[in-house]
């Protein structure tokens, strides 16, 4: 199979997975689509250098996670800059907040409660957020999660326990990490 065909097949096989991983991180369809595009551009770039040390699904998962985390970081620094520039602007000229909670996998009647849960997940450190997404939303097994995160089974278990505890604190009113 030549490279363009291989790439197209990979896209058809994994675009849904990548899009759904991205949406768990950003909870916004537009941002998730942008991340999905970035992920596949990266996959295309690195496809000829991909060594079969890792399973291709695990490899794509890792790219999707890193790209989502990078996207969030970039957006945060962008927000910081727009906040600073907003201080020097008039009220009428202030930039509009673009990212809003828009998760297509959630039922409308659960939207409010799920937004609260995602707000708490978003406040967790990156690796704790990832472990919750991989284990509890994407429903990967502990072994698969360990493989994707390049951690041992024990480390994933410990990380999950910490994430669970922190999430519980964040979801309890008036509690901080």
């Amino acid at each position: 199979m030549n490279l363009p065909d291989l790439f197209r097949n990979l896209y058809l096989q994994y675009f849904k997975l990548v899009y759904n991983v991205a949406i768990q991180y950003v909870q916004n369809t537009e941002d998730a689509e942008e991340i999905t595009q970035d992920v596949f551009v990266k996959v295309h770039e690195k496809l000829d250098t991909f060594k079969r040390e890792a399973d291709i699904k695990t490899w794509i998962y890792r790219i999707a996670i890193n790209q989502s985390l990078d996207f969030i970081k970039a957006k945060k620094s962008q927000k910081r800059w727009s906040f600073l520039s907003a201080l020097s602007l008039d009220n009428n000229e202030r930039p509009i907040e673009i990212s809003h909670f828009n998760h297509p996998g959630i039922l409308l009647e659960q939207n409010e409660s799920m937004q609260k849960i995602f707000d708490a997940i978003n406040r967790l450190p990156d690796n704790q957020k990832t472990v919750i997404i991989l284990l509890k939303i994407e429903q990967n097994s502990m072994t698969e999660t360990a493989d994707i995160m390049k951690l041992s089974y024990k480390a994933v278990d410990a990380l999950f326990q910490r994430a669970k505890k922190n999430l519980e604190l964040l979801l309890t009113p008036n509690e901080e990490i």
Partner: protein
């Protein structure tokens, strides 16, 4: 008791997270990916990187050269100031 109830709460939260359904992206996503790849192919990253490297090298060489010649001029003027200043006037004039 408290930990039992909080465990129940967390299990309830994880149950609702597990119920999140898979979403479908819009259909023209693939063409967007291909457009980005084609754009990247038009301007290869290696070309951009090498041009940047040449520019940085040129600017730093220029900077070093300017620094060196400034120092050279400064040294020359220091040397001149150390030399005894000859009086060109002759006594019999």
């Amino acid at each position: 008791m408290k930990s039992k109830s909080s465990n129940r709460d967390m299990n309830h939260i994880f149950d609702s997270l597990a119920k999140i359904t898979q979403a479908d992206p819009k259909r023209d996503l693939y063409s967007g990916v291909m457009e980005r790849i084609e754009f990247q192919n038009k301007i290869p990253i290696s070309w951009v990187a090498s041009t940047t490297a040449v520019l940085v090298l040129f600017i730093s060489t220029e900077f070093l050269y300017l620094n060196y010649s400034e120092r050279k001029i400064a040294n020359q003027s220091q040397l001149l100031s150390l030399m005894p200043q000859g009086d060109n006037l002759l006594y019999h004039e």
